[in-house]
Each structure stands twice: as structure tokens, then as C-alpha cells.
């Protein structure tokens, strides 16, 4: 379980996150919302140690994050982020197998089990049959799913996702959230998802955290957090809230004249 209390993060000399606290409980999906520049990505990066956190503490299974080696962190925390273009042809299977790096020896080939797990994750993310294709031959959405597959392949208990639905079509956006939710409720993982889609967050998140200007403005269940006042304060938009008539989830609609 990953826990952060009152951490701050600085980037290029500016403090971009202040007094950030979060408790990622097993089986729960937390959505992190906020306008651009709110510090969401920096907070996420601090949680897996990519960015240094000052003040406060980050505890992984009760132990300060600094005490872990990179390898150990990677067995417990997996990241889904915007994926960089690579100049080298890498197949989907090779890419997803990257998630198995921390399992097994430093040097050597992946085991049968590694390959099976990778294949399963590929199928899970609806990329079955794409194994031999090269990453740079896939569409943006397909690549994004491969990124998720890789993260799931690590079998890590904590998933940190930075705008995982950015390039996905409607159907796959839904799929993505479903998958992550399933990992949480079904496999006992915990997930933090940064997203711009408030409605999907409302539908799938167990908890919502809203950030603006580096600090948390609101956190709690979707019902507690998603109010017109909060949305107006954080996003500077007028909204009207109601319930989706089919499934009862909170529905946020922005108003514009």
C-alpha cells in the first residue's frame, strides 16, 4: 500500500506541489483531477520516486520510499504514462515484456512464465494478434493499450496512470477504465488515475482528489467532491450536475452560454 503525507515537490526551482497527502488502499481506484499545471503529474511522479519529494513522507508498505532500490519499487509500483517515440523497431511482445524486467535475473532471458503473463496482458488489453507488430506501426490508441499491458504485466500492486485515455476512442476509453477497475476490485491492486474526463472518473473512481495550483482542494467520494462549487473553484467553469438515468452515476455537464 502506498501512502503519502504532506509532501511537496519542486521543479526547476518552483514548488509545484504542496502539502499533498494520499492513501492508496488496496482495491480502490482514485481519480486525480485538476486543470493543467495543477501539479498532478508532479505529484504522481513523486509517488514512485521519479521526482524527489521534500518534506512529509512517502511510505510503501509502511517503509519510507527512499529505502527501496529502483528494482524493488518497480515490483510494487507500475506507471502508465505518455509513451515516447523510439527510433528502434520494438515488437509489442518485446515492449510488454519490459514489464517483466524486475522479475528474474538481471541478465538473462525471460522465463516461460514471463512470456505467458505478457501474452495474457496483451490479450487483456484487446491487442491479441498484435504481438509481432512493431510499436511504431500501431495507432496512438493501440500503443496506449500496450503501455497499459506492460504496466499490468509487472504484477505490481500499485498502478499510477497519467492520462491513460488521452488517445483512445470512446469504446477503448471505457475499456481502459474497466480494466483498471477490475485490477483493483478483482486483483486487489490500487490505482491512481490522472484524467480529464470527469464523468468517467465519477463512474469508476472510489475516491476523487481535485488539485489546483499545487494543493488539494477537495478529496472524498465522487458524491462528496463533485459539486458545482468545487468544480467552479477548481476548473473555473459553470456546471450542472445530475444523475445518469441508466446507471445512476453522477453526471457533470458544463454550461456555456
Amino acid at each position: 500500500m502506498l501512502q503519502a503525507s504532506e509532501i511537496s515537490v519542486s521543479y526547476s526551482g518552483h514548488q509545484v506541489v504542496r502539502g499533498f497527502s494520499i492513501s492508496m488502499k488496496t482495491g480502490r481506484l482514485v481519480a486525480l483531477l485538476g486543470p493543467n499545471g495543477a501539479g498532478k503529474t508532479s505529484a504522481l511522479k513523486a509517488l514512485n520516486g521519479s521526482l524527489a519529494a521534500a518534506g512529509g513522507a512517502i511510505l510503501l508498505d509502511g517503509i519510507p520510499l527512499e529505502r527501496f532500490s529502483r528494482r524493488q519499487i518497480a515490483t510494487k509500483i507500475a506507471v502508465v504514462a505518455q509513451e515516447a517515440e523510439t527510433g528502434f523497431p520494438v515488437s509489442v511482445l518485446e515492449y510488454v515484456l519490459g514489464g517483466r524486467y524486475v522479475h528474474g535475473a538481471y541478465f538473462g532471458w525471460e522465463s516461460e512464465r514471463d512470456i505467458t503473463i505478457a501474452r495474457d496482458c496483451i490479450k487483456l488489453c484487446d491487442l491479441g494478434g498484435f504481438e509481432r507488430r512493431y510499436m511504431n506501426q500501431l495507432s496512438g490508441g493501440e500503443r496506449q493499450r500496450a503501455v497499459l499491458a506492460r504496466a499490468i504485466a509487472t504484477e505490481a500492486g500499485v498502478l499510477l496512470l497519467d492520462e491513460p485515455t488521452a488517445n483512445l476512442d470512446l469504446a477503448h476509453q471505457l475499456e481502459m477504465f474497466k480494466l483498471v477497475k477490475e485490477r483493483c476490485s478483482g486483483c486487489g491492486a490500487s490505482a491512481l488515475v490522472i484524467t480529464h474526463d470527469i464523468n468517467l472518473a465519477a463512474a469508476f473512481a472510489d475516491e476523487i482528489v481535485m488539485m489546483k495550483d499545487g494543493i488539494i482542494r477537495a478529496s472524498g467520494t465522487p458524491e462528496e467532491v463533485l459539486t458545482s462549487e468545487n468544480l467552479s473553484a477548481v476548473f473555473s467553469v459553470e456546471t450542472v450536475l445530475d444523475r445518469n438515468p441508466v446507471n445512476g452515476h453522477i453526471r457533470v455537464t458544463t454550461l456555456h452560454t
Binding site: 521519479s50 529502483r70 528494482r71 515516447a84 523510439t86 527510433g87 519490459g98 541478465f107
Partner: protein, 315 residues
Amino acid sequence: MKGQTGKFLILLFALASSLTVAILIGSESISFSRWSDLDRTILFDIRIPRVLLGAGIGAALAVSGAALQALLRNPLAEPYLLGVSNGAALGTMLAIFIAGEVEIIRPVFAFIGAVLATVAVYQMARSKAGMNVERLVLSGVIVTTMLSSIIVLLTSVLDAAKLRSFTFWLLGDLSQASKWGFILVSAAALLGTAALLIQARSLNLLMIGERDAFDFGVEVSRVRALVFGVSAALVGVSVSAGGSVGYVGLIVPHLVRMMVGSDNRNVIPLAAIGGATFVVLADTIARVAIAPRELPVGAITALLGAPLFIYLLRK
């Protein structure tokens, strides 16, 4: 992902063939039926050490190129481009200038020169946002050209007698092989390949992205330092023994990737074999084309490598 045994055997065969051909032909023909002292001298004192030196240098440069390309996520990265070769050349020149006949000093100075050049490139490329591949390559180009200018300046100031040898260093020249030369380079090539092979899995991740590598458990700074260090050592030892033999670090890894894909666990050992084959062949041409005169091997690797490179670029 293994299953490349077939290709491995093909390349081994190619290496064995090129070594055989190289040992059998030269500017003087050796008669095995009427074996004489002269034949022995030619074969064991001159030809074999030189061929083995070529193999060692080829392996070292190819592997170093492959590793740097993976590290920098750029298939065009190469020791020369990053200033490593010129740093090594400058180090060698200083060693010759200061310690003249003491040969063992040269690879040491070359290594130091290569490392210093790498560090310089690094410092230039670093910004608050962290390491960025474009900045790194650009810094490399700046450092390389700066060092080239210093080399040219020094060779203009030093007297004309030394000038000749330096220009040949910079184009690659395997004729100055001493017995030490090939043993040291071959040992370095073997050790270096092994060291980089151990990092191959990490390099596979680094090749995709530094962020990715970091997130998925690679100790990025450590692996980076190690790969740069080993590459610098490989380049340093090669340049101090035979000058800057260009294109090997660029072409061979590329060709190998075309054969077996990008997995560094395959690319690195195959690049070593491929690099050795390439330089042995190029040097054989250099020795024989206008016999009894010789061409610098770097000219041949460029003549072979450049068209190949253009062809690859267009693919």
C-alpha cells in the same frame, strides 16, 4: 527471443572465413609447401597480429556503437559522433608526445581522453529538465568538432615529421600493430562485450525511454555511467592501437539489427562478431588493393560504409 542461433552461426562462419582469407592473402604470398624463415616472419610477426588487431578493433567499436545507440535511443549515435573517438585520439597524441616509446601509456591516456570527452558532452547536455537526447547528440557534435580542431592545431604546430603519423592515426592504420597491441585490444573487446552484455536487458528498457526504464526498475544513472565508461574504454583502447576507424560503430549494429531485431542480448554479441568481420575484410582490402603500397583502413571502411549507410537511411 533467443532462437537466433542460426544467424549467430552464420556470422561466426563469416568471421571465420574472413579471418582465414585475411591470413592467407597479403602483399607477399606465403608458400606453405616451401616454408621458409621469411614465411614464418611474415605470417607470425606481421600478418597474424595485424589481422587479430583488426578483429579486436572491429568488435570493440561495433559493440561500443551498439551500446551507445541503445543508451541514447538514437540509431545514428556512434563513438565518433559523440566525441569519444577524438578524445581518445587526443589522449593518444599526448601520450606519444610526453612518453614517446612507452607504449603501454597510450591506451591509458586514450581512455582518459575518451572519458573526459564523454564527461564534457554530458555536462553540456545536462539541463534542469534532465538529460535530453537531442541536446546530448548536439553537444557530442560540438565536442567532436572542437577536439578535431585541437588535433589539427597541434599537428600544425608540431613539426612536419610527426605530422605524417598523426594524420594516419586519424584515418585508422593497423600497420603499427605490435604484439601488445592485438592482445590488449582483443582482451578489451571480449571483456567489454561481456560487460555490456550483462547490461543488455537494462539497455532494452533504456532504448525505449529513460522515463520508462526508470519507472520499470532500471538504475538509470548507474547503467548509463557504466555503459559510457565501458564504451569509452573500448574506444580508447581501439583508437590508441589503430587510430579512428570510422563507420564500424554505425554500420555494423544497424546491419545486425536488420538481421535479428533490436534486442540487445542478441545485438551486442552479434555486433562484436560482425564488427570483427567487417574490419578484417576492410583491412585485407587496405593491404592488398595497391600492394605493396597500403591504404589506411579507415578509408576502406568509409568507402564500404557510406553507400551502405545511405541505402539504410532510405529504407
